[in-house]
């Protein structure tokens, strides 16, 4: 039995593939945080007055807060004065107006990551907003989307062009007081994506944001706001990578989704931030607040996430089912290898009548990885006939990793129907031997078994992403079953 174990161990240790650094001149603030820094960020972006006021309010509130300590995570104390809160590639002019004005080094970076912005503009049916450190460097397909009245741009641009929309919705789902990291984000966020789908419009292509952290000891604090008006539909994707660095870097994002009557938002994430090395040095702290509100009747919000990167993941994409007959879904694959830790799950808050939610969570632990599912299903007093189905499966590869499940159920209305199923299994030697006896190598076999385990979630991803995610799961596991 010793032999397959060591082979599995080798298999799970493949290197991170996006760990390169782009050499580019940046415009960065010195590390540290005070009101002056916030004023400077706001001034650099030439923001409207309400935005600065919002930031300062959030900052002052943040000062009164302490980091959450209820998650099953071991986090070294973070020195918030050692972080750089603004870092942007230097452009010759103010900001690039089109791709032709974008620094070729940057375009090359995205090409290396498999996201050729230029080609994408010409070929694939995906519009991309590329965020590099603190700023959005390019957004493709803008004019084509504008024909349908769809706004898809960087957050900075939205503040200039559509301040009323931002003002109306910003903080309406995740208030600046929500939690420690959300408050910090509200104070210092530098960019992100904004998306607005007008009434009755079905967005004709996938919208996506690609986040890249490059600068050393900088944090990334982006903000995404998506508003889907009555009867509209949008599918949105986000991807993330970062260079390999020895120190931890903080990523504290906030995503807010608003779906009005009969609107549908599908939000997919493939998160592949640098996970740190085998001993647990370096890696991204991914502390993210994502929440959607189904504000109009029959609205639907689906979160799908594949989390393979980051040293620590703390994230609970949630849905507030405010109106009647609304639907919330959460599909998640979280993989932890080596010393990675994940505490992730969702909150489904049933407020309106006849609201439904589905939670499918697949946790995979390998090496010394620790993986926790934490989910809250809450049915409020007036939410008649609420229904929830939760399925929570864990797969262990080896015997030094851990899987934990923390389901919380709070029901205040007796008509609710709540189902919870959970399982924990190990990849069996029988399954491995069966695959190998049919000619497959261990890597292929593990990757196939793991992908099979995640199938219910992967099938929710848009096609191009599903293929990427499958490969990523294989790579992230290489060298680690022990």
């Amino acid at each position: 039995m010793a032999a397959p174990q060591s082979q599995l161990t080798n298999l799970l240790s493949q290197e991170y593939q996006h760990g390169f650094v782009t050499e580019i001149e940046t415009d960065s603030l010195p590390p540290g945080l005070d009101e002056e820094v916030i004023r400077t960020i706001s001034a650099k972006k030439n923001e409207p007055e309400f935005m600065l006021a919002y930031r300062l309010k959030a900052y002052r509130h943040w000062l009164t807060m302490t980091p959450p300590d209820w998650a099953k995570l071991k986090i070294d104390p973070i020195d918030y004065q050692a972080i750089t809160y603004y870092s942007a590639p230097k452009f010759n002019k103010d900001a690039p107006k089109s791709l032709d004005e974008v620094d070729p080094e940057l375009l090359k970076t995205y090409e290396k990551l498999g996201i050729p912005l230029k080609e994408q503009e010409m070929l694939a049916g995906v519009a991309v907003d590329a965020v590099f450190d603190s700023v959005s460097v390019a957004t493709t397909f803008k004019s084509k989307l504008a024909e349908k009245g769809i706004i898809f741009c960087s957050f900075s641009e939205a503040l200039q062009e559509h301040p009323d929309l931002v003002k109306k919705y910003l903080g309406s789902v995740v208030p600046h007081t929500d939690n420690f990291f959300a408050a910090l984000n509200a104070a210092v966020f530098s960019d992100g994506s904004f998306c607005y789908i007008p009434k009755g419009v079905r967005c004709p292509m996938e919208l996506s944001t690609y986040f890249r952290i490059n600068a050393k000891s900088s944090g990334q604090f982006e903000r995404t706001l998506i508003v889907a008006e009555e009867g509209s539909y949008v599918s949105y994707l986000e991807g993330c990578t970062a260079p390999m660095r020895d120190e931890n870097q903080l990523h504290a994002a906030v995503v807010e989704l608003i779906a009005l009557e009969n609107a549908q938002i599908k939000y997919s994430t493939v998160q592949n931030w640098y996970p740190g090395d085998k001993e647990g040095r370096g890696g991204i702290y991914n502390f993210v607040t994502k929440r959607g509100a189904c504000r109009g009747k029959q609205a639907k919000i689906s979160w799908t996430q594949v989390e393979t990167g980051s040293a620590i993941t703390w994230k609970y994409p949630s849905v507030l089912l405010e109106a009647d007959n609304t639907i919330g879904e959460f599909y998640s694959v979280a993989l932890t290898n080596n010393r990675q830790q994940a505490d992730t799950g969702t909150k489904m808050i049933h407020i309106g009548k006849n609201t439904r939610s589905t939670i499918i969570s697949k946790g995979i632990s390998a090496g010394f990885g620790q993986n926790s599912y934490r989910g809250l299903v809450k049915v409020l007093k007036n939410a008649r006939n609420a229904r929830n189905y939760t399925q929570c499966d864990s797969l262990l590869l080896g015997d030094r990793c851990g899987a934990h499940t923390f389901p919380y159920i709070e029901v205040k209305n007796p008509t609710a129907q709540i189902e919870h199923e959970a399982s924990t299994s190990k990849i069996s030697e029988d399954q491995l031997f069966y695959c190998r006896q049919r000619g497959m190598g261990i890597e292929d076999a593990v990757s196939m078994i793991v992908n099979g385990f995640c199938k219910e979630v992967l099938k929710e991803l848009p096609m191009e992403f599903a293929v990427e995610a499958q490969k990523l799961l294989g790579i992230s596991l290489e060298g680690s079953v022990g």
């Binding site: 190998r436 196939m448 995640c454």
Partner: protein, 249 residues
Amino acid sequence: MLSIKNLHANIDDKAILKGINLQVNPGEVHAIMGPNGSGKSTLVNVLAGREEYEVTQGEVRFEQQDLLELTPEERARAGIFLAFQYPVEIPGVSNINFLKAALNNVRAARGLAKLDAMDLLQQVKDKMQQVKMNPDFLYRSVNEGFSGGEKKRNEVLQMLLLEPKLALLDETDSGLDIDALKIVADGVNALRNSERAIVLVTHYQRLLDYIVPDFVHVLSGGQIIKSGDKNLALELEQQGYGWLTEARA
């Protein structure tokens, strides 16, 4: 093709095989029979490379190679196929994906190009007809929710597709009704030719009515205690194993 000399193997430090000697040539069909716990399944699993068995002595050569040096996947690619007594379920992995991965790995080892999707599907569907499997099975998870008979037919399907040089069948007949038994036997017979060899482990003479062996071996206490032709199986059917094991004792 296959030459086993003085093979000893343990599981959890308990000796199961205690000196097996067996020579299998191309074109031959060997049946291994014997009482429960005699080491029949252990023998074929050791040949396939299952790692919970520890080989303590002896030598196995397969076409000039030291078989015991090879990993399970290397043995599979070299042309050894084991039809499992208990085929394994793999949730979420479709049968067609599994077949594709297996076939392309084995083909690559033979220097053949990957099959494109259409060719693969055509080949698989042809073979499925042979074992009377509904094409729906292609899109179901590997062996998940299959009946005992369906699992065994799925094993034969894989075998037909991978076209092994040496097929090892571990009680492929157990739990089959007579119709399913015939289907499985037809599949195995379709594979028989002068270049391939088959070693089948069975409890019952019944299977040998359909797959007529060239040799029958009786395994008892980890050794082959008697070898003969197909008539030996008939004798065993009538008299049981007692007369052989007692004679030795």
